[in-house]
Amino acid sequence: MGSIGRPMKRVEDRRLVTGRGEYVDDVPAPGALHVAIVRSTYAHARILGIDATAALALPGVVAVVSAADLGAANGPFPHPTWFPPHPPLAKAVDPFTRPERIWLLAAERARFAGEPVAAVVATDRYLAEDAARAVIVDYEPLPVIATAEQALAPDAPLLNPEWGDNIAVHFVIGAGDVDQAFEDADIVVRRTLRHGRAICTPIECRGVVAIPDRRSGDLSVWSSSQQPHWLRDALERTLRMPGDRIRVVAPDVGGGFGLKSMVYPEELLIPRLALHLKRPVKWIETRRENLASATHTRDQVHEIELAVDRDGTIRGLRDRFVIDGGIGSVESIVVPYTTACHLPLAYRIPTMRIECTVAVTNKAPSAAERGAGRPEAAFALESILDEAALALGMDRAAFRLHNALRIDEMPHDHGILYRDGTPLRLDGGDFRGDMSDALARLDYDTWLAEQAAGRTEGRLLGIGLAGYIEGTGVPPFEAANIRLDPSGRVIVSVGPPSQGQGHQTTLAQIASEYLSVPVELIRVIQGDTYAFPSGGGTIASRVIVVVGNAVAAAAIELREKILAAAGDQLEVAPADLEIRDGSVVAKGAPDVSIALTTLAARVTPGIGRMGSAGPGLEARGGFQPPTVTFGTGFHAAIVEVDPDSGLVTILRYVVVHDCGRLINPAIVDGQVIGGLAQGVGNGLFEELIYDEQGQLLTGTFADYLIPRATDLPTPIVIHKETRSERNPLGVKGVGEAGTVPGAALMLGAVRDALGQAGAGLATVPVTPGRIVTAIQAARAAGVPVGHAG
């Protein structure tokens, strides 16, 4: 039996359940100095001076470092994760985007509350924190840009005076004659929808340990990162040190979700301090630092309108959306463009025009969170679909089914470009079928009746409906090395690290499938620049597509080499050989065989003889994705709203999802359910709130609320497998898919539960406060509370 498709237990888990994980804070660093970072208390201020005299006098303090001390080494440097649009997209759409820069420490100006201003280095963290409080920073407050709206006002203060405005990104994409469609359509619905500012919050915060080698001067860096190779490249540039002398390792990483796909100032600063002080230096982020200074996300306002005919046919979509990018959109157009091009989801929308503006403000910088712009797109589109159905007097499910793309319409070209500049062509997936399966599993009609009955008892029941598409497996290409060791074990090395996705299991399953070597004999090494020198990071649901197919290619090549080498040894044509039970065996002649261990030893450098298979049983494979491959799916949920407290209880949650071929169904389940929890968090709970002075009001987990076990139901998950034709394994990524519909689903369900009283609800998270306010306003105006039926 092959290994692919089996819900195997993970090879990672024995270590992790026994407390033997090695997260960055666990990395041994004898004699390490510890850093506490002095962060700006102002959202926008000139830094007039830093007085470290008192801090330096405290016990255990080794150094207090500011921008002035670092000189040219402080930057600014080009931001390591900012890159210009892909040339084909630049040519066709010409998105306007301004290059971002990075400073290790704020120089003349602090631009958000929480920006690093100085680093205190001491013999332990307690002493470093004591001293950090003794550093006196002389600030001259500057006018604060607290919202995107303020940033775009004509007389706004400028975050970057040299820009002349506060616009980081702007572009328009479209298909067909949308204005004509709006003129021709029977009705037009409009809505202003706001997705709150959110943050990924992996339970492990960020952290960096840098250890210089005293003799060679080489540097080892451990960082809780999704991007160790990009960090290595950034260190090469900022430290002016050859990259081959810098080893960057992402060890066990306690969750990422996009937040750790950045390269951060602290990741450049700590290695710099270690080189300067010639000592190991360690910094572990606190949660307060994480919420205030790691990248934020989502914060979008959509002015969306939909043109529809009375029979429910969608004619066109227009959307203008603005993102509050904080001090910068440090991944350039990634999130903005991903939102824009995913807006039509898998509905038949013949014409569209989508305009995006990213404004800079005095908040932490912005980048991707799980879904990377897709949840915002689903939120905007599915919410306007609900409004359109209401306006038409059509059932919301029937309206969606009428417009959903069927599998016989695939591949479907939306008439716009994907972010890589190729035409956005959905490559299969039965979106309409996903939807009808979800409605059936939910028991939609029964719930409609329940809802009507509930209303007479004063129960507020709501139905949420939202679908998704997700372009997964984004280029660049990846490669994998694989070798058969004389011990009989297979070692696979790849670049991108894991943050809990179970790659060490799934990639081993893939190698096992092609080598006929059991998974327990396969070891996967990842996230270490010395083990594999390149990699584009664990982002964008790409690893199983791009790395998985690279591992498959490498394993296939290794199998050929094994069979060729065994053919030499056994004097049998390789085509007549197969690998079985740890040996290479002649087909039909089981007596003619050689053990893999023996074979490997005979051809391994240093102990064997080089034969026709070349220097050892080792192979390298790569996979260049032609473009992304699209997963699809649909979520449906029932909620009950308590009219007095505004609390929302999810009674039932159904997921139908299709990520192509499943490598490990248990792991896919975990990704989908974990993903939907994050979507529900966006929909009901999570919001970074700033005051008008740019001060973060939700700076702890007591204020920024992520879902708890009691906030979620056990969902019903249905897997479908429409294999991708865009890669040999037939897989599609799944890491982000589950998150995409959540916010739309929750707003739609609550809105539905409240009926007319919910007409004003247009913001997620749809918190108890917002719900109660809507109910009270409705009661005051004599509007009925509850589903209209």
Partner: protein
């Protein structure tokens, strides 16, 4: 900063150490005793990554001082295995894919342990309430619930771990290498 001699029993072993009065229990466990299986996720008693058992009760070690543990009995994730044999909770998390990044897992397990010691067959709602002080960002909790249910069933003798599959069972290759 005043210092205090404390005597704490951790995973069955007595430790006498001199600690600063402000040293947090979690730092004592991690940095003084080297028990890094107990994690830190929020600093404000919200996330539960630092959950340990103190005299058999689940407590968050980021909000206790080490001196408050003086004279008490502590159990951490490192104290669950019986030799090489995993505790049914540890086994359950492996069986049911109850962990992804693994960072919250020790705290989750230490929160579930007192529950199973007092309730042999908790239902889903009881389990969810018992772990509601422990945040997980990866799993959405569903498979954590089934992991704890699996452990309860194992403790009742109703299920056993199915080994094999992806378990590392490597033995060094026998026989002479090479040619």
């Amino acid at each position: 900063m005043s210092e205090h001699a404390i005597r704490v029993r951790v995973n069955g072993e007595d430790h006498t150490e001199t600690v600063e009065s402000r040293l947090l229990l979690v730092h004592f466990l991690r940095e003084v005793l080297g028990l890094t299986g107990t994690h830190i996720g929020c600093d404000t008693t919200s996330c539960g990554a630092c959950t340990i058992n103190l005299d058999g009760r689940a407590v968050k070690s980021c909000t206790l001082f080490a001196v408050q543990a003086d004279g008490h009995d502590i159990r951490t994730i490192e104290g669950l295995e019986d030799g090489d044999v995993l505790h049914p909770l540890q086994e359950g998390f492996r069986e049911q894919h109850g962990l992804q990044c693994g960072y919250c897992t020790p705290g989750m397990i230490m929160a579930a342990l007192p529950l199973l010691e007092s309730n042999a067959d908790p239902d889903e709602a009881t389990i969810r309430t018992a772990i509601s002080g422990n945040l997980c960002r990866c799993t959405g909790y569903a498979q954590i619930v089934t992991s704890i249910q699996w452990a309860a069933a194992a403790l009742r003798g109703e299920v056993v771990a199915t080994d094999a599959d992806a378990d590392p069972v490597w033995q060094p290759a026998a026989g002479p290498p090479g040619y």
